[in-house]
């Protein structure tokens, strides 16, 4: 039996004993989590320590395993968005639209340009919201609460935009198969304009606060680095991969939702350390703002949903007064819609990397199998590798900069 199958405590106890016998050094075991405040979410790390230096570790995850994939096999397509919301809850709309695009791909639905642009705007807002949390909390973990309190207000502004679009703040459940549930009110555009005007100086100030701050730089440069080769082998995607110097971005590689219409750069880092991850995320916020600006300016006129009565719920007034609408409503809700037998893999650039949906249908109203490629889950396994030989306090900063979201990690 492999040594690694033993519980980590037992495994490390053997190492400690061996060291004591060999050279008299005293190692210790430290249990970090699952409710440690610095871990932002619940995962346990049992670390083998030499003083304050980490020699080895083993992570335990699954503390909020909620069985998304099992639930998804028992729910009609339109009831799966609430699940995707709760995966990466820092940027729910990206998950929502990723799921809708997967379904649309499976059903071969053509989406109006206007809807695609609207989706791009919301997804980029969500990316900003995600990076605000990650970067400001990295500040908190290295000892600067100010930035967090300062930029979090603007997260509220983004929530207000979501609220105006769909009525919810955090778990948005936004959109339908084929588009949005309603058209955007003028207030949405006003709020986005206000954000585009007010947010950049704040973000600039946040950047000034940390980017060239001596303490912050000392705490993050060369902390938890990962090489590009290793990052690829570990399946890194998103900002964490780009910090290691690889310019892989799903938005550019396989454009979806008309991302090819917009001009933006992919910021890349060099050394893959905590500081580079911070800088890449910071720069991505600027790029997102650029994309939103372009999308607003180029926003075409047109319908806010595709003309697919088989899948798009008719307006409620029509259901009460119109026979056809009632029939469609009934059919959609009861799951009598035609679903081709197919399989689809669709990926979007989530807040943390390539968020993939692998959907297999068998012609019934529910997926036969739905697998989520959750970027957090895949790159978090590199954590032990990254912190070995580092100080404990560096491990906290590394974890924070990886932006591991427990909901996405554990599914």
């Amino acid at each position: 039996m492999s040594d690694l199958l033993l519980p980590p405590e037992q495994r490390f106890a053997d190492v400690i004993k061996r060291h004591e016998n060999e050279d008299g050094s005293e190692l210790s075991i430290l249990n970090l989590g699952p409710t440690h405040p610095a871990t932002h979410g619940i995962f346990q790390n049992i670390l083998l320590m030499d003083g304050e230096r980490i020699l080895d570790g083993e992570g335990t995850v699954g503390y909020i395993h909620r069985a998304f994939e099992k639930i998804a096999e028992n729910r009609p397509f339109y009831q799966i968005t609430p699940l995707t919301d709760r995966m990466n809850y820092c940027s729910s709309p990206i998950n929502n639209f990723g799921w809708w695009m997967t379904v649309e791909k499976a059903l071969n639905i053509e989406i109006p340009k206007r809807v695609q642009y609207m989706r791009v705007i919301v997804m980029e807002l969500a990316r900003i919201a995600d990076h605000i949390i990650c970067n400001s909390v990295l500040g908190v973990d290295t000892g600067a609460l100010t930035g967090f309190l300062y930029v979090f207000q603007y997260r509220e502004k983004i929530y207000e935009i979501y609220e105006e679009i769909c009525g919810a703040r955090l778990t948005t459940n936004m959109g339908r198969i084929g588009g949005f549930e309603r058209d955007w009110s003028p207030l949405v555009f006003e709020k986005i304009e206000a954000l585009l005007k007010e947010f950049p100086p704040i973000w600039q100030e946040f950047e000034n606060l940390l980017m060239r701050n001596r303490i912050f730089m000392d705490r993050t440069i060369d902390v938890g680095p990962i090489s590009a080769e290793k990052a690829i082998s570990y399946g890194f995607t998103g900002p964490n991969l780009r910090a290691a110097g690889i310019d892989y971005d799903v938005r550019v590689m396989t454009p979806y939702s008309s991302y090819e219409d917009f001009e933006f750069d992919i910021p890349v880092g060099k050394s893959g350390d905590t500081y580079d991850r911070f800088c890449v995320r910071n720069a991505e916020v600027w790029e997102s703002l650029k994309i939103i600006r372009q999308a607003i300016d180029k926003m075409p006129e047109g319908p806010y949903h595709a003309d697919v009565p088989d899948y798009y719920l008719p307006p409620k007034e029509d259901v009460y007064h119109n026979m056809e609408a009632l029939i469609y409503h009934f059919k959609i809700v009861m799951g009598e819609v035609p679903v081709p037998v197919t399989e689809v893999y669709h990926a979007v650039e989530g807040g943390n990397g390539e968020l993939g949906f692998y959907l297999t249908t068998d012609g019934s109203r529910t997926p036969y199998r739905l697998h989520f490629r959750r970027p957090c889950f895949i790159y978090y396994q590199a954590f032990n590798d990254m912190v070995q030989g580092q100080m404990l306090s560096d491990a906290i900063a590394t974890l924070s900069s990886l932006n591991v979201i427990a909901g996405e990690l554990d599914a």
Partner: protein, 176 residues
């Protein structure tokens, strides 16, 4: 020079003959079946060959087909991605229902580690040569494999809902 699907099919069949089959293009992703014995070689070839260059393992997941033939009751689906030519590929390996076993691809991709553990956790598929094949998301004490179709979604022991009043059973797979 982009990598054409026909070229991939050609070189795979040339090299592996009968162990790879059923090439089909579904929604722009070339999908094929590989013999479960040969997965490590096929994937190694796709990764290291100078023209294939599938350098990234996107995803590993399992599937369960309880109604299929005994020899094809489980499958492991791999998604790979060539970042240089931007081509995706999907490999499927069907496994025996009684004794689902397949080689681990962790020697090729470090990232396969947890994904294979997850697949083991959900389906009970044994990955031979995996360094640390134990449960990851569920509790270590659990004995069954929850993503198998016969496993009920809802906890059978719960007391807050009486299924008779909801017109359903806890077993969601056996549809009446």
């Amino acid at each position: 020079m982009a990598l054409e699907q026909n070229a991939i099919i050609q070189s795979l069949s040339d090299r592996f003959g009968g162990t790879v089959s059923d090439f089909i293009n579904i929604h722009d992703i070339l999908t094929f079946e590989a013999d479960s014995e040969s997965i490590l070689e096929v994937m190694g070839f796709l990764k290291d060959d100078a023209t294939m260059r599938f350098n990234f393992l996107t995803d590993v997941c399992g599937m369960h087909f309880p109604d299929a033939d005994k020899s094809r009751q489980f499958s492991v689906v791999y998604h790979m991605h060539n970042w240089i030519d931007n081509v995706r590929i999907r490999i499927k390996c069907y496994l025996n229902g009684d004794n689902p076993e397949i080689d681990s691809v962790t020697p090729l991709f470090l990232g396969a580690n947890w994904q294979e553990r997850e697949t083991y956790d959900f389906y009970g598929i044994i990955f031979k040569g995996h360094p640390q094949l134990k449960r990851i998301l569920n509790m270590d004490e659990m004995v069954s494999f929850p993503m198998r179709k016969e496993f009920p979604m809802e906890d059978g022991g719960r007391t807050d809902k009486d299924d008779r009043f909801f017109g359903r059973t806890t077993d969601n797979y056996t549809k009446s």
